[in-house]
Amino acid sequence: MLIAEGMPLLYLELAVGQRMRQGSIGAWKIISPYLCGVGVASVVVSFFLSMYYNVINAWAFWYLFHSFQDPLPWATCPLNSNRTGYEEECEKTSSTQYFWYRQTLNIAPSLEASGSVQWEQALCLTLAWLVVYLCILRGTASTGKVVYVTASLPYCVLIIYLIRGLTLHGAVNGLVYMFTPKLEQLSNPKTWISAATQIFFSLGLGFGSLIAFASYNEPSNNCQRHAVIVSLINSTTSIFASIVTFSIYGFKATFNYESCINKVILLLLNAFDLEEGSLTADNLNEMKDHLMATYPQEYAQLMPQIKNCSLEAELDTAVQGTGLAFIVYSEAIKNMEVPQLYSVLYFFMLLMLGIGSMLGNTAAILTPLTDSRAIASRFPKEVISGVVCFMNCIIGLIFTMEAGNYWFDIFNDYAATLSLLLIVLVETIAVCYIYGIRRFEKDLYTMIGCKPNWYWKIMWAFVSPLLIISLFIFYLTDYILTGTLQYQAWDATQGQLVTKDYPGYALAVIGLLVASSTMCIPLGALVTFVRKRLKRERVSTVA
């Protein structure tokens, strides 16, 4: 996926930005006046992304601030009102999930029950936007210096976590799980689709941020070498980060497995009044059979409470999405020694990564705004950045409401996926067929001094567009086959997620999200066409 899709498209975007020396809107206008819609679509997608992405930073701040306590607040359940036991909801699920769903999000049982704005989350969101504003205040020059910090600190933290993770008990289980190829999953096309989409988002293709940043490069910058290096480093970092993730994951799974076994042992000891230490993890199965034979009735009564503990089941629990970072990792951290230190490090790293992404997004929005002379001449760039941050902050307050996490999931799943695929497809086709691949080759030759070889040309002209078209078709067929869209809602009474259907207005919002960015492309072409027609008519009537 990296070789077929990631590197060629990255090189393409960097070269376009460097050559045209303008943000995404201006750059595509130069390639062909009918394509100004592509740039606008990129900006719209970046705008949607910046609206909801900073909420993740707000959550990271929340967890970071709460890490300075002993014990960590998500390590134990809070007590109920008459102090005889733990809170009911917390009993049914784990303390980390309770902390996430109840004390952080205060989530509503469904999308319809909106609830009020959570002031703690709103404060954290404001702080997150202030941090972003501080970094982009002086323009890309200052952003460049900030990125030195936000890009290098996560590596330090990852190395610390690698050392800590590999020395944890049970980490080997996670690593073995990661490196054993699961053939039945590899043959499932969904895996490959996810891989392709992951490369897209990981490299940040189609957002316009790459074009914006490349336009500040010197014209003679060797963007071919940069593209290859960046994509290789990106993938190596992903593998490195997954080693860390899986070793910690293995630790958590082993810990849960051993707790489960201990619970079963305790249950059996208490029920049959056996001596302590007579049941261990090794002889558990034989003893279970023995007890079943000697006391069939009591054992039958006990059966529903005895869970079958399995390490594979713990490792297989599907983990994805924003919940992963906050639930699974906080659960693993609370069981380490000196959990406060590791918690602070981890959430600080998450914050650095999140702010780095936000800087790219806001650069993608601000560069076209500052490029256009209409706006830039009237207001200084501090005011423009301030207005953009303020508007995004106000809109982001929606995601701090009680049902806010469901809206967040809507934006997360639908704002970017389809639109980005379409944008990148149009970009590739535009550069190869409308601008002409020979013209592009010549431009690259003048800039770098060497022509792109046959590998790049084949990828740009044939392989990447085909790949993107097939991804597109897959997503559409998937949607048509499943019928209505569904989401996971948190049920407080059961203490787990349940699937529900989206209400009508949510579906309308989803449609609007996808349509507003994809429609920009044909609309842009149409507007340019109409304008040219009118100009030609005016000229002909004058003449």
Binding site: F65, F68, Q69, L137, R138, D273, P380
Partner: protein, 224 residues
């Protein structure tokens, strides 16, 4: 005489057996997990430990009702298993062959739970009275939540940074404006001859070359 004594002892034993048995009225089950609590330092549960337990229960009853009538012999233990778990009842010495109501025993134990736990080096979880719920201690909560303090610190730093950057930007802007207006004022005062936008003074011999063709002008024409 001996036979009467034997009969009395057996009657008492039977009475005790009737009072203390699993699920009897006012009887409580106790479960002790010594190895879990103490690991290698675990002591064995024997008759002496049972005696201590009976003494602690008697102490609890005395302290609760503050009438010193409960004796150690009033506390009966039965059905000790390997787990270690057993049942106990507290008999009332004033009324013959009856047990103290369960609610009193429960209240007494709850009041003195800490003392009982400490006598055995155990905790609420490892010395369990199965029907008596323990009061869980709430976590220590400081007056202001810690997170607000950290939030406040970070917020002040960020706002200070933003204000500093904005103010320095405005100052730089003002300085640039002042410099450009000064330069304009200067240029208006002195009428400088400009050649191609460059004042002639700057076009001094330093940067310019004298073209020899036009230098000696007077030699072209013959002198009169």
């Amino acid at each position: 005489m001996l036979r009467a004594l034997l009969l009395l002892v057996s009657v008492v034993a039977i009475a005790h057996a009737e009072l203390c048995k699993p699920d009897a009225q006012n009887a409580f089950k106790v479960r002790i997990s010594i190895k879990t609590a103490l690991g290698d330092n675990a002591y064995a549960w024997d008759a002496n430990e049972e005696y201590l337990f009976r003494a602690m229960v008697a102490f609890a009853m005395r302290r609760y009702s503050s009438k010193s009538t409960t004796q150690i012999s009033n506390v009966l233990l039965c059905n000790v298993t390997d787990r270690v778990s057993f049942w106990f009842v507290v008999t009332d010495s004033s009324k013959n062959v009856t047990t103290v109501p369960g609610s009193e025993v429960e209240a007494a134990i709850r009041m003195n739970r800490n003392r009982i736990n400490n006598a055995f080096l155990l905790s609420d979880k490892t010395l369990q009275f199965l029907k008596i719920t323990s009061t869980l201690s709430p976590p220590v909560e400081p007056s202001t939540p810690v997170w607000i303090i950290v939030f406040g610190v970070v917020l002040c730093l960020i706002v200070a940074g933003i204000v500093f950057l904005i103010v320095s930007g405005i100052q730089k802007h003002k300085k640039k404006n002042k410099e450009s207006t000064e330069r304009e004022n200067l240029e208006e005062k002195v009428e400088v001859t400009l050649e191609n936008g460059i004042p002639c003074e700057a076009l001094d011999l330093k940067a310019g070359h004298i073209n020899g063709v036009f230098a000696a002008d007077d030699e072209r024409f013959t002198s009169l």
